[in-house]
Amino acid sequence: MADTATLLGKAAVLEGLPNHPAIKAILASNSEALTDAKFDFDELTLTIAPEQIRAACFALQSAGYNFFEDLTAVDWFPAAPRFQLSYHLLSFAMKDRIRLRVLLDDADPAVNSITQVWAGANYYEREVFDLFGIRFEEHPNLRRIMMPEEWVGHPLRKDYPVEGYR
């Protein structure tokens, strides 16, 4: 808990953490990939443009964020943009964790798969596809993982009732 300051917005984070390796890596690969940023609860969150996520992951991987830890989604229904993807990356060497955020619209949400960067993202992307209905382009095997193949709907969406359809 060294730094408990809260920085909101891209400008504030760039000013407050000018030498953060993750920010430097993303800006060096494509300065337009980073659309927003925040630092709160001692965690750094970088919002990435949806079409840039794979390139950003490659850049971060070579910058030392060697481990893909987690991927999930949040449904902000009925707000727009509706879906948020949250990637958690870990650096074993720097002992640091960052979160990447990708915002997607309601209509046909899709984003590039990052299985080319970390093969371990395979199950996570299938899980998000199954439970949220977000497609991952160029995923090797995008099918349902938890629910039966013939299931209708995506249970973790907010317009899906907790007790299911009866």
Binding site: D70, H88, F92, K95, Y124, P140, Y160
Partner: protein, 404 residues
């Protein structure tokens, strides 16, 4: 790597239809540790492809959490990794406490470390017993369950429950541990190192056990990192990373312990790493007992932490807080946080998004068995069918945490 990680196996590959066969292993096979179904393409006895078919235990627990108050989620977390219940409680509590910026009293933190390590021992004992049993060494199972019973009695003393403890709550512990609890833990860990020697005696020199494990299930460090493998399998592949030491939580930075690693990358390395880990856990528990601070076990936050029963019955203020927490819950500041801890199987992480109300907007659980299962094909490809059982045992999966 991409063709390895999870293409469906429905029929033998083109050009090998006469030679290859597709068979099912599970979901009721006892060696699959629950309800794991593996679809295997085999060439005689040699594994060509493996496709794990999961979801048989899926209960939508993340969706259920969205309909509960924050404090009502704690008992749900027990049921995910049912062999290591206190780690689940701990990880969830730490995540919510991060959102609330709650300060946890030192005694509660040390008790949490002590209990998390007991819970890790519990998890490793079940792993050792079932792993050896899968391979044909039935005796060890009876020995490990003897000590597991001791741990479950300690759990029962402290929480009133043997498996679904819910003892670690948001803001501290559920209640003070019973008076003789620490003495009982001390008595247990005094005898426990001898018991580890006993297991090692039964297995380490056993030629059948050794032949079934040495060189089997090779997982390189690169593959382990790429596939998201954590915990003992990662360290047995030579990657020296343990969240307890490298990104400490709940005052783990005050404890001295070693993180065992091995570069052999096989099932035997995972066996050795876990055995050493049990010894290190005993060291941590001893330090926790020796340095156990005095003081309360609950944070000073009357609107979040339930008051003691006695206070609730005698003090007006406490009664009001109790009533409010139980009926309305407590509001948690808006935001998103992630907290990872090192449980018996690897990195457990909770990701909680709050919208400022008394119910979590989204709870996501990252559990180590889920990504580790992806590595199964890498470890088994080109090996014999019988090795699959050894490899599943060595990665120590729990289907409850895969399917959630």
């Amino acid at each position: 790597m991409n063709d390895l990680a999870g293409m469906p196996v429905l029929e033998p590959a083109e050009g090998a239809k006469d030679q290859h066969m597709v068979i099912n292993m599970g979901p009721q096979h006892p060696a699959t540790h629950g309800v794991l179904r593996l679809v295997l393409e085999i060439d005689g006895e040699i594994i060509v492809r493996i496709y794990p078919e999961i979801g048989y235990l899926h209960t939508g627990i993340e969706k259920t959490c969205e309909a509960k108050f924050y404090q009502q989620v704690v008992p749900l977390t027990d049921r995910i990794n049912y062999l290591d219940p206190l780690s689940n409680n701990l990880c969830y509590a730490l995540t919510v406490e991060k959102l609330l910026a709650l300060e946890i009293p030192p005694k509660a933190q040390w008790m949490r470390v002590l209990l998390a390590e007991l819970s890790r021992l519990n998890s490793h004992l079940i792993w050792l017993g079932t792993h050896a049993m899968d391979i044909g060494a039935l005796t060890v199972f009876l020995y490990t369950f003897r000590e597991r019973e001791d741990i479950l009695r300690l759990f029962e003393a402290v929480a009133g429950q043997r498996m679904m403890l819910s003892y670690i709550r948001i803001g501290g512990l559920a209640m003070e541990p019973p008076l003789d609890f620490l003495d009982r833990v001390q008595a247990f860990i005094r005898i426990f190192p001898e018991k580890i020697d006993e297991y090692a005696n039964l297995l380490t020199g056993n030629p059948i056990f050794r032949n079934r494990l040495v060189g089997v299930g090779h997982l390189s460090a690169e593959d382990a990192v790429a596939l998201g493998v954590t915990g003992p399998p990662l360290r047995a592949s030579g990657v020296d990373f343990d969240l307890r030491r490298d990104m400490p939580y709940s005052s783990y930075e005050k404890f001295q312990f070693n993180v065992p690693t091995s570069t052999a990358c096989d099932c035997w390395a995972r066996y050795e790493v876990r055995l050493v880990e049990m010894r290190e856990s005993v060291k941590i528990i001893q330090q926790a007992l020796d340095g156990m601070p005095e003081g309360p076990v609950k944070a000073d936050a009357p609107k979040i932490v339930l008051p003691d029963r006695e206070k609730m019955k005698t003090q007006m203020e406490a009664l009001i807080h109790h009533f409010k927490i139980v009926t309305e819950g407590f509001a948690v500041p808006a935001g998103e946080v992630y907290q990872g801890i090192e449980c018996g199987h690897g990195i457990t992480g909770y990701y909680i998004v709050s919208d400022g109300t008394a119910k979590p907007y989204r709870v996501h659980m990252r559990y180590p068995s889920f990504p580790t299962l992806q590595a199964l094909e890498v470890m088994c490809k080109g090996r014999m069918l019988a090795d699959v059982v050894a490899v599943i045992g060595s990665i120590d999966i729990v289907l409850g945490e895969i399917d959630r």
